[in-house]
Symmetry: C2
């Protein structure tokens, strides 16, 4: 196989079966048919997945490294995930643990158009972490969300994203909400950026993006696993002025290792910032998983822009120093519900969050 993606699977099985299971996954994720029935020499030599190594990680758990021909992906993001984990996702004892990609894949997808540096520049932040919060709860009319956005901006937060539950519902239509929030932030004179969440089919998403652009917005959010990775790819390609923040909704727990899915793949396809459930919050990701995810988003990778890790999911003001100790300056901290819980003290609480991030001594 000339140019290959190397996918790493973790397979739970007996030691005696490990080699056969690895081969079965290699076949499932490539030709999906009995190899003995393949007559075509090119398919046998170039297309059938190639088991490159199997090793025991611990009793009953094996790592299989499998080469997949990059041509099978057609450089389409949906087909990429289909080849990496489409059918294998239906195997309960198989996890997609990691993957590495040849240079042509990186060049074809291109990574973030607006990553860490651009997201800092937009809000005039230098050498520090970024701050963000979320508009919620859904169910409130646009006017109340506008009021909330105004108070977050008064507190000085860098980015305000839609809660991923906000869509285009009858009680808060997208176009009305986005125009109103954007106008309020413009009027406030703050540098705060509003990041609306794009939802629906791809035409709806494109229409929403046009509404956002007309309102002067330059950063949008998408949940790639809900909207489809290919659509994210098309959105990034077709809108080079827009920074994209990826939301992990429907990202599953552990069937695809979060550092791969959220850190690597979302970055590869063009997310400039990636939201993920932080350790010690409402979700079960470990410190190691979060560290690996942040490194995958940030580390040098064939010339791709770094994407900003956005740990979230029950973060609190009290944890800011600990989170900055852990992540350093290359992070966007997101505190949503816990700022909202301050209610009439929301502006002060937001200002305290912003101040805590700005005064921190970055090493």
């Amino acid at each position: 196989m000339k140019s290959a993606i190397e996918a790493v699977y973790h397979i739970r099985c007996a030691a005696a079966e490990a080699e056969a299971r690895a081969l079965a996954v290699a076949v499932e994720q490539s030709v999906e048919m009995p190899v003995v029935a393949i007559e075509d020499e090119r398919v046998l030599g170039e297309i059938v997945g190639e088991v490159r190594g199997v090793r025991e990680l611990k009793p009953g758990l094996f790592e299989a490294r499998i080469g997949l021909n990059v041509e099978t992906t057609g450089h389409d993001a949906g087909q990429l995930i289909n080849m990496l984990f489409g059918n294998a996702s239906l195997l309960e004892d198989v996890v997609l643990a990691d993957a590495s990609f040849p240079a042509e894949t990186l060049a074809a997808f291109g990574g973030p158009r607006h990553g860490l540096a651009a997201l800092r520049a937009r809000v005039g932040a230098q050498g520090r972490a970024l701050t963000s919060s979320a508009l919620k709860p859904q169910g409130m009319p646009a006017a109340k969300l506008v009021d909330l956005a105004r108070r977050f901006a008064e507190g000085g937060v860098d980015y305000i994203k839609d809660d991923h539950g906000l869509a285009d519902q009858a009680y808060s239509p997208f176009a009305e909400r986005v125009a109103a929030v954007a106008a309020a932030l413009r009027a406030s004179g703050a540098r705060t950026r509003y990041v609306p969440s794009l939802t629906g089919d791809f035409r709806a998403i494109e229409a929403q993006l046009r509404v956002a652009r007309e309102a002067g917005i330059d950063t949008v959010m998408l949940a790639p696993m809900v909207s489809g990775l290919s659509n994210m790819q098309a959105l990034v390609r077709g809108n080079s002025d827009m920074a994209l923040l990826a939301h992990p909704s429907l990202g599953g727990a552990a069937r695809i290792a979060p550092p791969l899915l959220i850190g690597k793949l979302f970055r590869l396809i063009g997310a400039g910032a990636v939201v993920f459930p932080n350790y010690g919050g409402r979700f079960g990701y470990s410190r190691d998983t979060c560290r690996a995810l942040a490194r995958a988003a940030l580390d040098p990778w064939g010339g791709l822009e770094p994407a900003v890790p956005v740990p979230a999911g029950g973060m609190t003001l009290a944890r800011v120093p600990e989170l900055l100790d852990f992540y350093g300056a290359e992070v966007m901290l997101l505190i949503g519900g816990n700022l909202l819980a301050a209610r009439e003290r929301l502006v002060d609480e937001t200002a305290a969050f912003v101040s805590s991030v700005e005064r921190y001594s970055y090493g």
Copy 2:
């Protein structure tokens, strides 16, 4: 809550935590913020998820029934899955086990436009199971796939679908493959229908669908979890002449119960036939799961057309009577690789498959 979706979650936790965990899931899947911080009476009364019951299924496993306001979905399929399981998918100990929907959801999505009856009528089948096979492996040029299709048709199979690995790759471009296969089947005079797989972003999918329609094709395949449920919804709405077969790629194992995802949700959004990994094949679905999935696809459901269950994944000719005993006449049997393994005897093996299905005594 006036009009509600009722979602059923299975939560692994200690008995003392079950009520609190259920409440946490209800909040996560609706307002996603501390309820104490919500001031809006309407949100508190109408939008916050409502725990309707918690019961122990077995020690350490609890069922929580949660009401979710149907307005939060905006009748968009992506937002529907986002509300059902978006963030909860990131909780390792939570499974989405089932859901029931109010009449307005069924009316808004509309189910299959071409279900069991239409898929039978297209190939002149009456009161019997349907037969199908798959074009593969990927990596073969269009001419070889055409030859394969011709031989399947000569054997008399009802439907030939693309393997879900076939996309729009350089070695077998979609437009070339589809035009050539369709022309060969037309020339053969057989009733056999070709079902090409649509991939890529939504614009690419629409362009492929136009190519298919121009070639006289009236049934297409999509992998909804790869392409995005909202895009599937838009595709079904915008193309009322096309039957749609849904492929389970990236459908995960067990995090969303297969009868719900593949049987109910894919049908709700418009799949006329749903492929799933059958028991006793290469995947681990149980007989009970497969039976429940088939019933969810077929059972009367508020006037929605039944969708055809398509058990697959390592099926063999020898198992046809057993599969028909199990599923009855309302099924499409799919034998892919095991027909291909017959190589030069492919036409005879296909004819034997077709004959076995036609001669079976349906009760």
